[in-house]
């Protein structure tokens, strides 16, 4: 079976093994098959030697968190993310395999319909309060919001991309982000209709067609040339990849406008009012979302932005190893995600921090579910520069 991967990219791994410790699933299982090098070996078996695709090979592909920590570790620059996305797309398109069953596909499709997402979330929230929803077993936050105040645009200097699940469950982070952007002197516009879901989860699941269609809708919803600010590391990485995904000049131009909120703020942080007495006492640990650190590689900006507002920022000692959230991963591979998170929790414990910041909704949910006191960096900054009245 052909995987639709780039031949040169597939050939570029020399098998040195430097990626192994940076792969969360290898770290917790010790199994070569669940490492980047092992997964590439499996891809080569299928693509080059036409090995039959059995359940084991599907498992090898499906258990990848797609954190892309292997890419920053790879001295040969193997674009592992592309290889894995192409592989999953080929597996998903082969109807003889039951990769991505109908109910999963349906779930991913629903994310593209924002009213449905918000309504569904509200239904779950009501269910939670009636004691009808086993939140822990479903991996849901303990208390979903019933109703969040609507976001009000404040100008047209920049766009804020708000996303699907994040907008439904963590709208407070957007409120905080808008407050901070406003304090930095930028009027914030929201994306128009259809600009809610970036398509990242669909793309990672191998549902490329859904992802590309969502990408076109997002692009259409953000007309003009204003920078598109993203406060979700996963969405930001996806929006920045539209150029490659769609391959059109418009998409390339769109991707060039995308900027992570910390990247945008870092050079402007001096413009924010920072009062010594408002500084948050540390130690506060920075947990880098993989798609900020390994994909966008703009994780250092988070520190620049936070430094004036936090007394003591501390680093985790795990080289940015994934926390196991991985978009829908924590739902689909609960056991692996929990084992991976266990390492992260140990690292947080060693850091001595009682508060953790993480710039990605998935990581926030996954760590919160383990009882970690974790917040988005924008919430910290907002409480210092744009305190709620």
């Amino acid at each position: 079976m052909k995987l639709g991967v780039d031949e040169d990219e597939l050939a570029s791994c020399v098998g040195c093994g430097l990626c192994l410790p940076h792969c969360p699933t290898f770290r917790v299982t010790g199994e070569e098959a669940l490492s980047p090098r092992g997964r590439i070996a499996a891809m080569r078996e299928i693509h080059w030697r036409d090995a039959p695709v059995d359940g084991e090979l599907v498992r090898i592909a499906d258990t990848c968190v797609q954190c892309r920590g292997c890419e920053t570790a790879c001295p040969s620059g193997v674009p592992f993310g592309h290889l894995m996305e192409a592989t999953r797309e080929a597996l998903a398109e082969d109807r003889s395999l039951v990769y991505q069953p109908w109910w999963r596909r349906l779930g991913y499709r629903a994310l593209g319909h924002h009213r449905l997402v918000v309504a569904g979330s509200r239904a779950l929230a009501v269910g939670q309060r009636l004691g009808l929803v086993p939140s822990t077993r479903l991996g849901l936050p303990a208390r979903l919001p019933l109703r969040s105040p609507a976001l009000e645009p404040s100008g047209s200097d920049v766009y804020l991309f708000t996303g699907c699940i994040m907008d439904a469950w963590q709208r407070g982070t957007h409120t905080a982000t808008m407050g901070v952007l406003h304090a930095a002197g930028a009027g914030v516009e929201l994306l128009g209709h259809g600009g809610s879901c970036c398509g990242a989860l669909q793309e990672h699941a191998g549902l490329g067609k859904q992802a590309r269609s969502l990408a076109s809708r997002v692009m259409a919803a953000a007309a003009g040339a204003a920078p598109i600010i993203v406060n979700s590391a996963g969405c930001g990485a996806m929006l920045k990849d539209y150029g490659r995904l769609l391959g059109t000049p418009e998409a390339v131009a769109f991707s060039a406008r995308v900027v992570d909120v910390h990247e945008w703020l870092a050079p402007r942080v001096d413009a924010l009012p920072a009062d010594e007495w408002r500084k948050l006492a540390g130690p506060v640990a920075v947990q880098d979302p993989c798609h900020l650190r390994h994909v966008q590689r703009s994780h250092l900006a988070v520190r620049t932005v936070l430094r004036p507002f936090v007394d003591e920022l501390v680093e985790l000692d795990d080289d940015g190893l994934c926390c196991g959230a991985g978009g829908a991963y924590a739902l689909v591979h609960r056991d692996l995600a929990t084992d991976i998170r266990h390492r992260k929790l140990a690292s947080i414990e060693r850091s001595g921090a009682r508060l953790v910041v993480s710039a990605n909704p998935g990581c926030l949910l996954h760590l919160q579910a383990a009882g970690v006191n974790v917040r988005h960096p924008m919430q910290i900054v907002a409480s210092a520069v744009a305190p709620e009245p």
Binding site: S12, V14, G15, C16, G17, L18, C19, L20, P21, H22, F26, T29, G30, E31, E32, A33, R37, G38, A41, A42, A73, C74, P75, S76, G77, D317
Partner: protein
Amino acid sequence: MYERDASMITVDRPAVVCFPRTAVEVQACVRAAAHHDRPVVARGAGTGLAGGAVPVASGVGGPVVITTTKMDRILSVDVEDRVAWVQPGVVNLDLTRALAGHRMHFAPDPSSQQSCTIGGNVANNSGGPHCLAYGVTSAHVLAVDVVLADGSLARLGALEADVPGYDLRGAFVGSEGTMGISTRIAVRLTPNPPAVKTMLLDFVSVDDAAGCVSGIIAAGLVPAALEMIEGKMIEAVEAFVHAGYPADAAAVLLVEVDGLPGGVAEDAAAVASVGERCGARTVRIAADETERQLLWKGRKSAFGAVARIAPNYYLHDTVVPRTRLVEVLREIYDIAARHDLLVMNVFHAGDGNLHPLLVFDAREPGVLERVHAAGDEIVGASLRAGGVLTGEHGIGLEKKAYMSQMFSADDLDAQARLRAAFDPDERMNPSKVLPAGSRCGDLQGVPEGAWV
């Protein structure tokens, strides 16, 4: 995927892959293999460069691969005795990090230290830049619990200063899995030096840089590390790490001195003065820990930079007397030129451990033959200069054929006797290290992956 390590050599597929978590489980695996007359191949992270972990069939069937990656716990740390007991699957850098709070570290630091396991380090007697001053793995292993070929468990060495009898520990370390499988290892902990200075010396001629290496050693200095990067490699490294490596230099030396602050200052001054006498254009001392880390990152990611220059490369690991570095380096350039190949060097100059990389594109017809021929000549030149085959990567499958160039039949026979004392039936990692009586490995092309 368990049929190869970082050497890209493949021979046979494993029949079974085992993931033991305890010594008892390793014993069970080895006994089961013995019962079914299967060879046993131990595997850590699979970062070896000589095919040491590549399974080769013997007996009635396919090899049993025993992977130690699930045995990844640090069992105890004893600061007073300066020893830690670790399982073989513990990653080298993880151990050093875990010791940071005690201001101690595990001294062997191969360039693959972020991935490679202590069990693999023991099997290969691994080196690294800092073994110039601190010694290779054998100097840092006090005792090893080993599952022998018959499934019995023996402790080789001891925490006591000396053990009666032969140095079985010494024989086992570096035996590349042919004498047994380690299940727990007592490693020596080294106190972190109170002061460190890292210096970058740059030269407009490789000869001057190599001369400077001999000059530093001859001046009675024992730097913690003394590394050379030369030619195109500097440019590639700099483009990758932006550490301020002078891209126009013919060669640079990365020199680290450590110890007490007073002595470190004097050593640094002495290195600088040798450098200036030998024609160093500039001598730069890393101003802080960040700059120091950046310089080391450049050195340790050098081979990654090579992967970006050319699609394939082939690496040797010979050691030559330090006083003959200049002439051997020249000869290596001549050899590469004769075979119309590009050669680059990033190596442990302080102990004469060369890592010449032949850079090529395997798609070019006939290039593999030229690479092999050049490799043979490089090995020959190193041996003629009084050197040895391998300084830290091991013999494995890849360099087995060269063994008879360094050792006589009688020498090899003595080594075979030692191996037979541990494993009379040649069940543990057969066909490795010793050429005699072993079947020819299917060396497909040339090993590509490598760090230097």
